[in-house]
Amino acid sequence: MILGDLLGTPVHDADGGWLGRVADVRFVLDGTPHQLMAEPRLLGLVIGPHSTASFMGYDRNGLTQPRLVARILRWRHRGSFLVLWEDIAMMGPRSVRLRPGFTRYSAALQKAANG
Amino acid sequence: MVLTTPGPGPAGRSTRTGRKHLGGLVLAALALLTGCSGGTSQSVSTALEDSSSAVATARIALRQDMDGKLTRAAASTTLDDELKEIQTSRSTVLKLSPATQEERETQKQALDVLDQCAAGFATARAALAANDGGAPSVSDGDKALAGAQDALKQLEGKVVSP
């Protein structure tokens, strides 16, 4: 599948309850490099209940300036959370379903991991 | 839009320094908004205003030409530009469809004055083309335009928008 199909797709829990839309897709480079770089492995989905527009970088912990812009963008993305690949039951271009008892993690990127 | 077009010279200069009261301005703007939909006299007075700006420009250009401050190329280009302005105003006035006898009268007077302006421009351009010494002279052109300017001002005074 292609990533564009996934972004903005509605996300439901196991009972069909609406959780939000896919705001971003998180990958991790932790495999063995085949040639130049490791292939990015899908780590999980960032799900936003309010807006799926770009975070413009403000989901990174370090970015807090200018204050007003940071505040507005954070507010637009309030309630966003990360679910891991292990908690995803089904994926498609029209909907994503999570497994029962999935865990919501903070969507914030750790600055150190971001390099 | 606003009809107190100042005349040339220091008299005009002094009116410019006056400032309107803000409340009056808002009222004027509202009146303007409601009255903007049409009105022969409104369109005519705009056309006359544009034309008197054009004639005034042409007179400055001619005077500068006589004083040796302006090149022929620049002077004749200026006249061409301003004549175009007069022609635009004339076709605007011509296209109006006046509703009352009074408005028809206004339209006719405006067309007459604009024709006088165009004639003044013709004289002035011929003077520039005649390349010194010939007839008409540049000062003849300026005189013709001065006449047109007076006629414009008179009519502007008469046409008061509602």
Binding site: I2, G4, D5, V25, Q35, M37, P40, F81 | -
Partner: protein, 136 residues
């Protein structure tokens, strides 16, 4: 604002570098190994999972297999999607570095992603006198 505590658990730590698709990959400039712009990342292709099929617990996570470019930009913006055969791919194995831009480890010249550029160059620009003149 930053001091307001996040009520959610922090994500479990991972060993490698974390990349968010929108933030770090999509819409970034792609340069070849000589620093010549090739394209932008218009979309990404994943190795899975099968669309609308129940994912068995324990299934290995899908990986990014290729950068996509070309008509896929239009469909990403206006909806729909081009047939798989019309996707222009740059395999992930050719990506050398992900930073402010993505750098490839290869030359951009033979890539499918450059065919329009090559066509315009060969049919139009190179035929105008001075088209190959070095300005420096």
């Amino acid at each position: 604002m930053t001091s307001s505590p996040d009520p959610l658990l922090p994500a479990p730590p991972v060993a490698g570098r974390v990349l968010d698709a929108q933030l770090h990959l999509l819409d970034r400039q792609v340069l070849d190994h000589d620093g010549v712009p090739v394209t932008t990342v218009d979309d990404l292709e994943l190795s899975g999972p099968a669309v609308d099929v129940e994912i068995e617990p324990g299934t290995a996570a899908p990986v990014v297999t290729a950068l996509l470019t070309g008509p896929v930009l239009g469909t990403r913006i206006f909806g729909g999607r081009p047939p798989s055969s019309r996707l222009i791919r740059i395999p992930w194995k050719d990506v050398a570095e992900v930073g402010v831009v993505l750098r490839l480890g290869i030359s951009g010249e033979p890539l499918d992603a450059g065919w329009v550029e090559r066509w315009v160059r060969d049919k139009i620009i190179a035929r105008i006198p001075g088209g190959r003149h070095d300005p420096r």
